[in-house]
């Protein structure tokens, strides 16, 4: 029977599990290796994601407010932002169509009086609602307000669909309601 003190530590028994987390991984894969693997995967994902979207013009590269939108060979202005006062002016003129970019539930809870609902995610399904409007109609896209950007994307899609008088009311539903303007529920 050999003296147990002469044997290596790991002979003849399993190492106990440490519940201090994988800081010192008992199986020879130290935590820093795990973090390093995760960091490499994250960096590669950033490169792939940014690269792919830069090439295809999607994601963070999908909206350039200053860039004109190319429509059927002619250059049209990109959707412009309007203030609350301008939105009220267009509303009272009766010539503007307000387009609500929020989801159907929020629209039903309350919306700018007379607005139509085209949630950004359902743009392709709901764009038939725009069929009755001329391409030079004044369309004003809005969503909840400054914490929401769906109005920007909707405005861009409306411009892409051939509407050449698209504006974005970035103050949106919150600003409209705050000033007790006409609403529908």
């Amino acid at each position: 029977m050999p003296d147990s003190s002469s044997l290596p530590n790991n002979v003849g028994r399993r190492e106990p599990i440490s519940w201090q987390g994988p800081i010192v991984d008992r199986r020879g894969n130290p935590f820093h290796e795990t973090v390093l693997e995760a960091a490499v995967l994250f960096i590669v994902a950033c490169i792939l994601g940014l690269g792919y979207n830069a090439i295809t013009g999607r994601g963070v590269f999908g909206f350039a407010p200053a860039a004109p939108v190319q429509l059927s060979g002619s250059v049209e202005p990109a959707p412009t932002f309007i203030t609350f006062e301008e939105a009220v002016k267009f509303y009272t003129s009766g010539k503007a169509v307000f387009v609500d970019a929020r989801n159907e539930y929020d629209y039903k809870v309350g919306h700018i009086k007379g607005a139509i609902n085209i949630p950004l995610k359902e743009f392709d399904n709901r764009r038939s609602l725009l069929g009755t409007y001329r391409k030079d109609s004044l369309l004003i896209a809005y969503c909840d307000g400054v914490e929401c950007g769906s109005s920007i994307d909707l405005g861009r899609r409306l411009a892409g669909a051939g509407f050449n008088h698209v504006k974005i009311f970035f103050g949106g539903w919150n600003e409209w309601r705050m000033h007790d303007q006409p609403i529908e529920q």
């Binding site: 994988p22 693997e37 995967l41 994601g59 963070v60 999908g62």
Partner: protein, 172 residues
């Protein structure tokens, strides 16, 4: 403790967890990659982050999911992938719980960006907790069965064949 040790080094169990989690993340990534704007809108619906951050997440997150899916599936950097899936799932779960707490009736945006399906609910939280458990299991596990990393480290014939096949395919 022995039972736990056995489970952590059980090659078949680890392989099963890797493949299942990999498949889930693969399916989740594909729809988001093809339509990042809709995915950003799905993130916006949770009303946690500003739109600019949602767009950045929608640009990068699907690719991170895809990479983790492949890494888990093929057994490369399993611990790193498991750490990332665990972090992502924890973030998603907090977002769902927060939305439920605020009474939001929104779709999850997890596997499809169609707003009419996959409404969030406590079932979704349960699913996520199950996947978090799988990720934690993989993070602590040691099973190397059918993993490219293991083949590489043990210099097996199969790895050589795979490399030869890949190089032939690339050159051809």
């Amino acid at each position: 403790m022995n039972a736990l040790n056995s489970a952590l080094s059980n090659g078949y169990l680890v392989l099963f967890a890797r493949v299942m989690l990999g498949l889930v993340f693969l399916v989740a990534a594909l729809d988001k990659i093809t339509d990042p704007v809709s995915f950003a809108a799905s993130i916006d619906n949770y009303r946690i982050l500003p739109h600019s951050i949602s767009l950045v997440l929608a640009t990068i997150l699907p690719w991170l999911e895809l990479l983790c899916a492949f890494a888990l599936f093929f057994g490369i950097a399993v611990h790193g992938s498991a750490l990332l899936t665990c972090a992502m799932l924890t973030f998603f779960t907090f977002a769902v719980i927060s939305a439920l707490h605020r009474g939001l009736d929104i779709s999850c945006g997890c596997f499809t960006q169609d707003p009419s399906v996959q409404k969030i609910g406590w079932t979704k939280v349960g699913e996520n907790l199950g996947m978090i458990a799988s990720s934690v299991y993989l993070l602590f596990s040691d099973g190397k069965r059918l993993s490219l990393e293991h083949f590489y480290r043990s210099r097996t014939l199969i790895f050589a064949v795979l490399l030869a096949g890949a190089s032939t395919a690339l050159s051809g």
